[in-house]
């Protein structure tokens, strides 16, 4: 049986090496990457445009909400904002809008709020449930008056991902106007902690964790993702090859 086992291991390793070589072929690679389009089409066909992600009971909240990715942007600019309680922080809303805005935390608090207990699903496989409170993105976009050509909303963040480039993410208008898509300023009844994205982060509940951009600094409406970062619409999409549509 030892021989059998060794043969199995060698066989598996050889075949897998073959698969790896195959994945370097441009056509194969393109096919593998395009599965995303099928999943997006299938999911969007199966769900109502405003179908809600499941909301949980308060007793189902994770005892500790695991932060991931950047735990603290630690840039001089961010530290300055953090030191005076984000009183000087502003969220810029621009791009293809008729009324560009610059909103303080106090102004954001002035919008109608939404609270939701939802599950955060990391692409790595773990989940954490938390109670989020924030402003539906729709309200901000309506106030800024989105122009006709706008098709995506891009989020620019304060965390430096190396070389002075910040984290960025994007969603399309279906998710931007979804009732559970909020700009969250509180987690579990307290103002967002730095590790969880203070002072403001995105919640887009029908997608994976890397879409939930933290440390928001600016929101930009665009017609296409081509000129955003590397062109794939998000930091991990550009740098690691993650799917832009993260409902999968």
């Amino acid at each position: 049986m030892i021989l059998h086992r060794r043969a199995l291991i060698l066989g598996a390793a050889a075949t897998l090496a073959g698969c790896d070589r195959l994945a370097k072929n441009a056509t194969v690679r393109e096919t593998l990457f395009s599965a995303e389009n099928f999943h997006k089409w299938a999911q969007r066909s199966l769900m109502a445009r405003d179908a809600l992600a499941h909301e949980f009971r308060p007793d189902q909240i994770s005892p500790f909400f695991r932060p991931n990715g950047t735990a603290n942007p630690n840039t001089p600019e961010y530290k300055t904002l953090w030191r005076n309680g984000f009183a000087d922080w502003r969220l810029k809303v621009g791009g293809l809008v008729d009324r560009p805005m610059s909103l303080s935390l106090a102004q954001l608090h002035g919008f109608r709020h939404r609270e939701q207990i939802t599950r955060h699903d990391c692409v790595e496989g773990w989940s954490a449930i938390g109670r989020w409170r924030g402003v539906p993105l729709k309200q901000v976009l309506d106030a800024a008056r989105l122009r006709d050509g706008a098709r995506y909303i891009v989020f620019h963040c304060a965390d430096d991902m190396g070389g002075g480039k910040g984290y960025y993410e994007s969603i399309d208008l279906t998710d931007a106007f979804h009732p559970q898509t909020i700009l969250a300023f509180a987690l579990n009844g307290e103002p967002l902690r730095v590790a969880n994205g203070a002072p403001l982060r995105l919640r887009v509940e029908r997608q994976l964790g890397y879409k939930q951009a933290k440390y928001l600094m600016a929101i930009e409406a665009v017609a296409s993702l081509e000129s955003v970062g590397g062109g794939k619409g998000g930091f991990w999409e550009d740098h690691a090859g993650y799917d832009w549509y993260a409902g999968i």
Partner: protein, 237 residues
Amino acid sequence: MDSAPWQARSVPRHRLATRLWHWLNALLLYVLFTSGLGIFNAHPRLYWGQYGANFDHPWLRLERFGSWITLPAHYNLAMSRHWHLTAAPILAFALLFYMVWSLFGHFGRDLAFRRGELAPRHVWQDIRDHARLRFPSGEAALRYNVLQKASYNGVLFILLPLVILTGLTMSPGMNAAWPWLAEMFGGRQSARSIHFIAAFALAGFFLVHILMVVLAGPVNEIGSMITGRYKVPEARP
């Protein structure tokens, strides 16, 4: 082990749909299992319930699987997911078509248990025959025995649907589209655990299946799954 004397008689054994589905599955399950282990390596812990992350209690905590069994060999979560999410829908739709196709003949003819087959004495006899490696010959070799039926039915109607549905349950988009999925499995992390267990049950089936093919005469068995024709082993005296 191909020592059994063959009769010249060969009979149609596996229909084209079965043969195509079989080899497609062999390929897809291989890609899905190895890329699945690559994905698992991103967070090699399993939990029960709705949530589960580093500060929660896992029921299983493993080291990362080695590069000899993961796709890609070196840790690359994005590529493992691309492989997995490309192969998964093909597996799911192929299973759906095959199940529907099976209902028209194959299931009733070959897979459904016959009267008396599930009697404890009959099952026990079949277990003893397997343990003594007494494989059926003559006409009996043309029918699936009760353990074979149980394992094929188990894979076709339990394990494969289970692994597909628990896979879908892990997707946050499907969570909004079909909320009953997570309810049915007791939460996303439970679904992830069941997905893992079902994947290893399928791997277990694969190993036993290969062992049985080798013991029963690999040339005839594999040949029949390619050409569809099976040489009937001569009836034992």
